[in-house]
């Protein structure tokens, strides 16, 4: 692998360098634990749904059109974050700023549409068991999206302050992977709450 003498004279990178940094490993661990959290939320949903006596969901099958568009919006914003990091690597800071800003706008759209979805529901958190589940699960996810948006906004500020270049930009890598995680989790939430009742 590496021979000893070579090792002693080999220059090593200093500080938070990409995926060698502690932060990258830390965010992976965070994703594992957050992923488990959503796993347990969905477990609670399936556990209660499988034993439900009455029709499930009680208010009838959910409308799919707007939530599907919303899913696409969220995924598009993930692509923008990915592009932003790529632009930093290619020394195109202006494009990186633009892509990150677009990602934030798309994320904000997702939040707006989701809040509108909540508004349209005829039931609430405390009207029946399904309502409790629906609002708790989507609420948890929405909270994560809002936190993710806050992180993306910070990254936007930092990029525009020229804090990063192609050699040091681990914050974008870390914040980016968290945002991708939030988006992937949505696919599971979407499949559970919107697609599963159609089976």
């Amino acid at each position: 692998m590496v021979n000893a003498d070579q090792l002693l004279v080999q220059p090593l990178p200093v500080g938070s360098k990409d995926k060698l940094s502690g932060g990258w490993w830390g965010v992976l661990a965070l994703i594992v634990t957050e992923g488990s959290l959503f796993g347990y939320l969905l477990f609670a949903y399936f556990y209660l749904a499988s034993q439900a006596e009455q029709h499930w969901p009680p208010a009838g099958l959910p409308d799919l059109l707007l939530p599907s568009i919303n899913t696409a919006i969220l995924l598009a914003s993930s692509v923008c974050v990915w592009a932003s990091e790529r632009c930093i690597r290619k020394k195109q800071t202006q494009w990186a700023i633009a892509a990150m800003a677009l990602a934030i706008v798309l994320g904000a759209f997702f939040v707006g549409i989701q809040l509108n979805e909540w508004d349209k529901k005829t039931y609430g958190m405390s009207s029946d068991l399904y309502g409790s589940l629906y609002f708790t699960i989507t609420g948890f996810h929405l909270l994560h999206v809002v936190i993710g948006l806050a992180i993306l906004s910070l990254l936007l500020v930092w990029i525009s302050f020229s804090y990063f270049n192609e050699k040091r930009h681990v914050a974008i890598t870390i914040g980016g992977v968290y945002w991708h995680f939030v988006d992937v989790v949505w696919l599971f939430v979407f499949a559970t709450l919107y697609l599963f009742p159609y089976l």
């Binding site: 692998m1 000893a4 003498d5 499988s50 034993q51 006596e53």
Partner: protein
């Protein structure tokens, strides 16, 4: 593989040409059997529980007549997974040469391989053994206990 000389194998582990393949094999050896067992448990338990007690009242017979067959099939498939993982682990272990002796190394030398390859292979073998036993135990429970019976 087994015909390769010891010298060659030592070289192979000092400088693995396709380290990603070997990483995947090590991961399979370490976690294949546990994953199979966890899969067996997580599939069998909800099926067995739901089939006999779907709603408010326990049923005298399972919802699906061939529940036992389904459970047995799950156990068999998972056992196959465990055995595969055990086979990979066993091979890895046999290939992992005894620790290469570093000759003429300086005072502060890094060994290329301090035995970690062999160690991981050994862990894989032992983990496969424990979890194959676990799969068999769980399988026994499925085979011996009639579904939906009352404990008398």
């Amino acid at each position: 593989m087994s015909s390769t000389g010891k010298q060659d194998m030592a070289k192979e582990h000092r400088a693995p040409p396709d380290s990603s393949v070997s990483t995947y094999r090590t991961l399979l050896a370490l976690f294949g059997a546990p994953t199979s067992w966890v899969g067996q448990m997580s599939l069998s338990e909800p099926l067995a529980a739901y089939a006999c007690y779907p709603h408010q009242v326990p049923l005298p017979a399972p919802l699906w007549a061939d529940l036992s067959v389904i459970l047995a099939m799950i156990s068999l498939i998972c056992l196959a997974g465990g055995l595969l993982s055990g086979y990979v682990a066993w091979n890895l272990w046999r290939q992992a040469s005894p620790r290469p002796v570093v000759t003429g190394a300086g005072e502060h030398a890094f060994e290329a391989d301090g035995g970690q390859t062999r160690f991981l292979a050994r862990l894989g073998t032992m983990s496969s053994f424990v979890f194959i036993v676990a799969i068999l135990f769980t399988g026994c429970a499925v085979l011996l206990v009639p579904p939906c019976s009352a404990w008398i």
